[in-house]
């Protein structure tokens, strides 16, 4: 009796050890890579925020909270810092309050079999697979006064009402150029979100959709009372991911308005400082502080949004 218990214990122990080895092997590289490229990198960055480059010593030296003090000084006193942050913040409503609802509506109607839905879906997804360099160049050429059609069409159309029509300078004046960057973002961003939403809508069980049809409710009611609640988790995820663009928007202003200071964003400012090897420690501080402020806001948003419609399993 005791012998078999001993044997059993040994077997269980052996099994547990094997299991542990298995877990360690499966997790080893991911965790190591994570520790190095996330943990260590962030630790190093935070260390950097407490340093400054000394021209007399030719290296970085400890500088206490100087960079942090400089950050708060710039927030209050430097309009360009504020402009950079505001520009970045504006990406959030564009993504989450314009692109997202629009893509939900588009997906819904594509689902409702608007004629040529299949073709539209392919075309709308195109910007997500094409190189961003190509998309931005196509976009800016379209608005050039000699190369592109927009100005000629604008003058022809508005010229009918106003013989002295003046075409706005799409990329030459602020805030028009910033708005053009947002228009570009909507133009290319709809497609990807449409695909996500479509996938979510198609997973709604038929019976639920048909129930609405039988009741004779129109598009609007069906959309708001049936579809949205049932795809809500997807909506929340996409909403949150859209908020992160505040910190990552970089290529659109870089390619659409290459030498402009007034369309600067957080990510672009940091990218430029790394490229030019200037003010690196301060820019790291800039990024870290903004990230710290952003975290509770994002978490709060996620928790609030999740409360709206209790999840239905299907």
């Amino acid at each position: 009796m005791e012998k078999s218990i001993e044997v059993k214990k040994k077997r269980i122990l052996k099994k547990k050890t094997k299991q542990r080895i298995f877990i360690i092997l499966m997790l080893a590289y991911p965790v190591l890579q994570f520790l190095l490229f996330f943990g260590y990198v962030n630790f190093d960055t935070i260390t950097l925020t407490f340093q400054k480059f000394s021209w007399t010593e030719g290296r970085y030296v400890y500088s206490g909270f100087d960079n942090y003090i400089m950050f708060f000084d710039r927030i209050f006193n430097d309009p360009w810092t504020r402009r950079t942050i505001i520009n970045s913040l504006l990406y959030m409503p564009i993504n989450s309050l314009v692109i997202l609802p629009l893509s939900m509506a588009f997906s819904y109607f594509l689902f409702k079999k608007v004629p040529f839905s299949g073709f539209f879906r392919v075309v709308y997804f195109l910007p997500s697979i094409l190189p961003i360099v190509v998309m931005t160049m196509a976009f800016s050429f379209t608005f050039d006064s000699n190369l592109g059609p927009v100005n000629d069409i604008y003058k022809w159309f508005f010229g009918m009402f106003d013989s002295n029509v003046i075409v706005p300078s799409w990329f030459g004046s602020y805030p028009t150029k910033q708005m053009m960057i947002f228009v570009y973002g909507i133009w290319v961003g709809l497609g990807f979100n449409i695909i996500l939403m479509t996938a979510a809508i198609t997973r709604i069980p038929e019976e639920l959709m048909e129930y609405g049809q039988l009741e004779g409710i129109g598009f609007f009611r069906e959309f708001t009372t049936v579809v949205i609640p049932l795809i809500w988790p997807t909506v929340v995820t996409t909403f949150i991911l859209g908020m992160t663009s505040v910190f990552t928007a970089l290529l659109q202003p870089l390619f659409l308005t290459p030498t402009s200071g007034d369309t600067n964003t957080i990510a672009l400012a940091i990218y430029n400082s790394v490229l030019q090897n200037q003010n690196i420690a301060y820019m790291a501080t800039f990024g870290i502080i903004l990230s710290i402020f952003g975290l509770p806001i994002i978490l709060l948003t996620r928790n609030t949004l999740n409360k709206f419609f209790t999840e239905v399993e299907y």
Partner: protein
């Protein structure tokens, strides 16, 4: 897993390290590939090899070089010599990554002539930091208004000598309403405009800074560049800056129709192509324009020339009462440097001495369509048959003007706390001024609109000065050492 990873890392580092060969007879030169092309460096490389049998020179021409140089300097690379713009060399020098050049500068390249004597004296001061020379200045750039000489000739327009001439010329061109395409019968067919430019508005600096120097005199910049106090920005003592911008405003901003439509929003290449296609008579640009556009210049439409900066009425005059010619050195930050970790520093220094020979200097200019090295051209005999008219116009300006630049190695400037070109933050005001006047009310009734809406240009500088004054000591305290 960890062990495997570490081994892999070790192996790859070993492979990378073993890639550097140190052959004492080979020289590697890496140059920024831009408007100058690479024919010049290839020619010089072959000439150097010819004079030094047994030596091989490899050339890398790379448009992305500038952003890669800091890494190459810090980590070591096969490069012995870099020619580039946009290197943050002071930052790198102070960390010990750049080879000091004091010794080679004192060596003779010809009997009684030291290398340091051949360097253009107005640019020599841009090459040292903390008392040591770390680079050779690369080019002596010329900028200003480039014009289409053929268009001028065909229409009987004269190159303006004074600012007033330029204003009158712009009016003439705009009123002439000459169709760009004579066969275009549409009622709103495009007509030739005086100017075309782009959203990279800093190209106007090359003209506006010349006016600034005409008004203040080039000696003004000696103190200005030291950036020792905020007083240098005081518009009461520094009048040239705001007056030059006022002159630009009167010429360009207040005449929105004098510029090709939406110049302020154009991509810079679209603007250059507009110029080449005859949409405008003049374009603010610099010495690389011809080389950059060489494959698209149509001699039936375009003969490119650079005009000397027209004189402001209050320009400083010489003893005989003639206004002094000045020219802003474009690209004063361009550098030739030797990495501290270069495999073959001695040979790189030999190349520098070779570069300062008259024959090399002439080769450079001839192979870049007129670009001047930052060297003394007094003794140089350029083969005119190898030079285009554009090149000759650039060389003429360079040799007959007082050159000045805005390079500074004050720590306030290097750390970016304040900018010298357009205080406080080096953001140009051209777009703001242009957009201010480019509205329907002003265009239909200028005088009435101006009564209440004239943009006070001087005020820009007053506010900027006050802002800098208020923040000066704070900014200084932010700099470590």
């Amino acid at each position: 897993m960890k062990k495997i990873l570490l081994t892999l890392i070790a192996i790859s580092s070993l492979i990378l390290a073993s890639c550097t060969t140190t052959d004492p007879n080979s020289l590697k030169i890496s140059v920024y590939l831009g408007g100058y092309g690479q024919v010049w460096i290839n020619t010089l490389a072959r000439a150097f090899e010819a004079e030094n049998p047994g030596i091989t020179v490899t050339v890398e021409a790379n448009p992305d070089l500038a952003s890669d140089i800091p890494n190459r300097l810090q980590n070591g690379s096969p490069d012995d010599l870099f020619f580039s713009h946009g290197i943050n060399w002071e930052f790198l020098a102070v960390q010990g990554h750049i080879e000091p050049l004091d010794d080679v500068l004192q060596e003779e390249i010809a009997p009684g002539v030291k290398l340091i004597d051949k360097i253009d004296q107005s640019l020599l001061e841009t090459a040292s930091f903390n008392g040591t020379y770390y680079k050779l200045p690369w080019t002596n750039g010329v900028g200003g208004l480039v014009y289409n000489a053929k268009m001028f000739r065909d229409n009987g327009w004269e190159v303006p000598e004074t600012y007033e001439d330029l204003v009158a010329l712009a009016d003439t061109i705009n009123e002439a309403k000459i169709k760009v395409d004579p066969t275009d019968m549409k009622p709103n067919a495009a007509t030739i405009k005086p100017f075309v430019w782009s959203q990279e508005t800093y190209y106007w600096d090359y003209l506006v800074f010349d006016w600034w120097a005409q008004l203040n005199g080039t000696e003004f910049f000696n103190d200005y560049k030291k950036a020792e106090s905020s007083e240098i920005f005081n518009p009461t003592t520094n009048q040239g800056h705001y007056k030059a911008l006022e002159a630009w405003t009167d010429l360009v901003a207040k005449n929105p129709l004098h510029s090709v439509e939406d110049s302020v929003g154009k991509q810079y290449m679209a603007a250059q192509m507009d110029f080449l296609n005859g949409y405008a008579a003049m374009i603010p640009n610099a010495q690389w324009l011809e080389m950059e556009m060489i494959s698209n210049i149509n001699p039936d439409i375009m003969e490119m020339r650079m005009m000397p900066a027209p004189f402001m009425a209050d320009a400083k005059t010489d003893d005989e009462g003639n206004p002094i010619r000045v020219n802003y050195t474009v690209g004063a930050g361009d550098s030739i440097i030797i990495p501290k970790k270069a495999p073959n520093k001695a040979l790189a220094k030999e190349f520098l001495k070779f570069l300062a020979l008259d024959s090399s200097i002439a080769t450079f200019t001839e192979k870049t369509n007129g670009v001047l090295l930052a060297m003394n051209y007094d003794t140089i005999d350029l083969d005119e048959s190898n030079l285009s008219e554009f090149s000759k116009s650039i060389i003429e300006i360079n040799q007959n003007s007082q050159k000045f630049n805005l390079y500074s190695n004050s720590l306030m400037i290097l750390e970016g706390k304040v900018g010298l070109e357009w205080p406080p933050q080096n953001l140009q005001y051209y777009a703001t001024l242009f957009n201010h006047y480019n509205n329907r009310d002003y265009l239909t009734n200028p005088e009435a609109w101006l009564v209440n809406n004239e943009y006070n240009v001087r005020n820009i500088f007053v506010e900027s000065y006050n802002h800098i004054k208020d923040n000066w000591s704070k900014w200084q305290s932010e700099i470590a050492g």
